[in-house]
């Protein structure tokens, strides 16, 4: 068969396939992210109907804004540094040494990441005003730092640990044979090799810290304001959309800057190499790392334990009454529907959100990892890759209100759609899914696809034969992530939750807001149920043993 139109078709085929694959995710992102955010920010630029860019820029000159920006930057930097310092030894211990129960521990470390911030705030406050009151940490920035580290430790451990697992041991062995002590080997060989993973994890942690809302609010005791809490205040209380728009722009700038830094240091190609070194038994020289890991685990376990203990106590006695009460609507009718209904709904929404996130994530990952033949295509790929990370860096307030404000007219009258919450959650989980699938796809040698093609397999058949077998594990793992993230999502959901149908985190928040000792106990019990569900899901994900998770 003659291929008459190859020259032009061949040159266009690359970018066209790229765009076709990416079309659906880009459309979803455009409608459910870009549109709402632009709508809200646009309102800030056009108060009273005419453009006022100067007004927005004036906001940026306010001293309050500088204070808030400085606070956000220094807490995020400090939290990132502490998380890295604690997380690196833990990553080593949990991924390079054969310690007992390491899979359980790795799963347990992820639970804080998906707990609603509301719950964590309560747990930490109980801790800092109760057993740890002697530390006088309550209400200081140190409490906020503790909360931020609690949430983000898992990111560093997983990302750096995965990279460490697949590190080529040979340069290290050669260095040791040349006379470098283990410490010198770590400093001069291992650390430089891990730098892309460390920078990647560090930038994601920085992003999470900079946009952290619940932690700053509940642990900072209102004395401290970050960019995120300012946006919340300006939008929901003061209705100062100009100010909110200015701060949202700042946030976007930070995100973009981080993405650029991350892209520079992230290696685009993962090299094929021999089977990585197997984990070995701990030796006496590993004692400091083991000690740090135990410290980190204790730090993560304490608040969770506080929650558990609180949920099992009624009026000072041990009792399961709080758990039994989850079937009711709380004392003084705090809820419109029982908490068990909310759990049911949360699970179903999580299923929807997960399916959405997986489908979109797969399409994005596939389009981003196609072999780029031209420089233009490569740049397109890079832009697409970065685009889907944006939802991580935008305030939930902006997104939530933006939905209300822009999706209210046909053809996009989606305010009443039951799909709004799953879509919002899927957008937040999407970056995690993409970051899991992309390294797995990049690790597939393109020659396998070429071999399949030469054997007569069309492009889709080749994908089936070559990509799918490698993909199904990371797919299941990212499904687990997305499911857990959706279960615990609170920010966007709390803005979009409508009528009697609330998810469990929203219900927990409501229970905390209604007086009555039973309500408080129920809130703790519901939090424990949420944490347990998440832990189970994460354990299943761990069982799939996906070694290269990239940056989450």
């Amino acid at each position: 068969m003659e291929r008459r139109h190859l020259p032009l078709g061949g040159r266009l085929r690359g970018p066209v396939t790229l765009l076709a694959l990416a079309a659906v995710p880009v459309a979803v992102l455009a409608v459910f992210f870009v549109l709402p955010v632009v709508g809200m920010v646009g309102r800030g630029f056009r108060p009273e109907g005419h453009w006022d860019v100067g007004g927005v820029l004036d906001v940026l000159a306010r001293p309050q804004v500088h204070r808030v920006l400085w606070f956000t930057v220094w807490t995020s930097t400090a939290a990132t540094a502490v998380t890295l310092v604690l997380g690196l030894p833990a990553a080593y211990v949990l991924h390079r040494l054969t310690v007992p129960l390491r899979r359980v521990v790795r799963a347990a470390l992820l639970v804080p990441f998906v707990l609603p911030t509301v719950v964590v705030g309560v747990a930490f406050r109980q801790l800092f005003t109760g057993p740890l009151a002697r530390l006088h940490v309550d209400g200081t920035p140190w409490a906020i730092l503790a909360g931020l580290v609690f949430f983000n430790a898992a990111v560093v451990v997983r990302a750096v640990g995965a990279a460490w697992e697949s590190l080529d041991p040979r340069p290290g062995e050669a260095a040791a044979a040349l006379g470098a002590s283990p410490g010198t080997v770590f400093r001069t060989v291992t650390l430089p090799a891990l730098r892309p993973a460390i920078v990647g994890a560090g930038s994601v942690v920085f992003l999470f810290c900079a946009t952290s809302f619940g932690v700053v609010l509940t642990l900072g005791g209102l004395r401290y304001a970050s960019v995120e809490t300012e946006i919340y205040l300006l939008t929901t209380n003061l209705l100062d959309l100009q100010g909110a728009a200015a701060l949202s722009l700042l946030q976007l700038l930070v995100v973009v800057a981080l993405l650029l830094i991350g892209a520079r240091t992230r290696p685009m190609r993962t090299s094929t190499q021999r089977a990585p070194a197997r984990p070995r038994r701990p030796r006496r020289g590993d004692l400091p790392q083991l000690a740090v890991t135990v410290l980190l685990l204790a730090f993560v376990a304490l608040p969770l334990a506080t929650l558990l203990i609180g949920s099992l106590q009624v009026d000072g006695h041990w009792s399961l009454a709080n758990y039994r009460a989850l079937d009711s609507t709380g004392s003084h009718q705090a809820l419109l529907e029982p908490a068990t209904t909310a759990l049911n709904l949360s699970l179903r929404i999580a299923v929807d959100a997960t399916l959405l996130a997986l489908t979109l994530g797969l399409l994005v990952a596939l389009s981003v990892t196609r072999r780029a033949r031209t420089r233009g295509e490569r740049r397109l790929r890079g832009i697409l890759d970065a685009l889907f990370m944006l939802p991580l860096g935008v305030s939930a307030v902006t997104l939530g209100f933006g939905f209300l404000v822009t999706l209210d007219r046909p053809p996009l009258d989606l305010r009443d759609s039951p799909w709004l919450v799953p879509i919002a959650q899927a957008l937040v989980a999407l970056p995690l899914v993409v970051r899991t699938l992309v390294p797995a796809l990049l690790g597939i040698d393109d020659r396998q696809r070429q071999a399949a093609a030469s054997l007569g397999a069309g492009p889709w058949r080749a994908v089936l034969v070559v990509d799918v077998p490698v993909l199904w594990r990371p797919l299941l793992a990212s499904a687990g992530f997305a499911f857990a993230a959706s279960l615990g999502e609170f920010g966007a959901t709390s803005f979009l939750a409508r009528d009697e149908n609330a998810t469990l985190p929203v219900v927990i928040y409501r229970l905390l807001g209604h007086p009555g000792a039973m309500n408080y106990g129920m809130a703790l019990a519901a939090s424990c149920v949420l944490a347990a569900t998440t832990a189970v899901v994460m354990l299943v994900v761990e069982r799939l043993r996906v070694p290269s998770l990239g940056v989450l």
């Binding site: 044979a177 040349l178 006379g179």
Partner: protein
């Protein structure tokens, strides 16, 4: 001098190396030869201290058990992937010198010396990612030699290179090792490489040491048929065919013999004692390679000078070259 006594290594319960004992005198190069999976890399790693082993590994009669890798003074070289990608060539080669706190001017001198030694003068500022495979191996060699190690351990150093480069680099490697007087342990599955670089040869199979000795000796007297085949002998003959070939070579031998025959042992000769019919003929740059059905022996390889053009089906006469035979027993 390196001495190994009853060294064994087990991975997850299954033995990788069993009771290996050998000696390597100073200044000599020992090649450990064996097929893939025979345990030769394990032997190297055990000597380097990267694997737990039982038995004794001693240097100059001092037991090295419990001495960590970085204190043994043995340099390692792999087939690739060992250079530090984030450092320049000069920084790579200077790394061990920096570890020993050699002052910078002296360090720079030594790096230049070493790069000249391996034929890469002027490559100081290059990054490993920009070098070819052969150049990277040379840099690795320079780095390993930088501190004049007591023992140089090479793990299939030339396997990743193409054939022509391999030959050249093997010769260079030998010259450098001899010039520097370095003791070296080379692990490889390629006998050509072993012959080109080593003074002594050790053959390993299924985790056990099968034969050890000077190269010529091992080559001329393989311990058993499998070793002979691994060392490049084409066929091993027994019984009547063996006797016939021996007789044709003019070698007397009492009783039944097992003979290992090289491909170039039988040569086309007008007046040779053996006769046969040509089954295949193929021309190569140096000679013509034949497969001949020899009377009383069977199908054998043979060679002829480039001038001769025997075709399939022709009757030919052959003589046997006794230097290319080896009597195993």
């Amino acid at each position: 001098m390196l001495s190994l006594r009853e060294v064994s290594v087990r991975y997850d319960g299954s033995p990788a190396l069993t009771d290996v004992s050998l000696d390597l005198p100073d200044g000599q190069v020992l090649a450990v030869l064996g097929p893939s999976g025979s345990g030769k890399s394990t032997l190297l790693r055990a000597v380097a201290g990267l694997e737990q082993s039982t038995g004794t590994i001693a240097w100059d009669d001092r037991d090295l058990t419990g001495v960590p890798t970085h204190k043994r003074g043995f340099a390692l070289m792999f087939q690739d992937g060992q250079l530090f990608g984030h450092l320049t060539v000069a920084a790579n080669v200077g790394y061990p010198l920096r570890l020993r706190h050699v002052p910078r001017p002296r360090r720079r001198e030594r790096v230049a010396e070493l790069l000249a030694l391996v034929g890469l003068a002027g490559y100081e500022r290059r990054l490993p990612g920009t070098l070819s495979g052969g150049e990277r191996q040379r840099v690795a060699l320079a780095r390993a030699l930088a501190v004049e190690p007591r023992l140089l351990l090479l793990d299939e150093p030339l396997s990743a290179l193409d054939a022509g480069l391999r030959g050249r680099l093997a010769a260079d490697l030998r010259a450098i090792l001899v010039a520097a007087g370095t003791t070296a342990l080379l692990v490889t599955h390629d006998q050509e490489e072993a012959y080109a670089v080593a003074d002594r040869l050790a053959v390993v199979r299924a985790g056990r040491l099968v034969q050890e000795g000077p190269v010529a000796q091992v080559w001329q007297r393989p311990a058993d048929p499998e070793t002979a085949l691994f060392l490049g002998y084409a066929r091993v003959l027994e019984g009547a065919p063996a006797a016939a070939v021996l007789a044709a070579a003019g070698v007397g031998h009492a009783g039944p013999a097992t003979v290992a025959v090289r491909r170039s042992a039988l040569v086309l000769a007008e007046d040779g004692p053996l006769s046969g019919v040509v089954a295949q003929a193929r021309a190569t740059p140096d000679q013509v390679r034949l497969v001949v059905d020899v009377d009383g022996v069977g199908e054998m390889d043979a060679v002829a000078g480039s001038a001769a053009h025997p075709g399939p089906g022709e009757k030919v006469r052959l003589r046997a070259d006794q230097d290319r035979l080896s009597i195993l027993s």
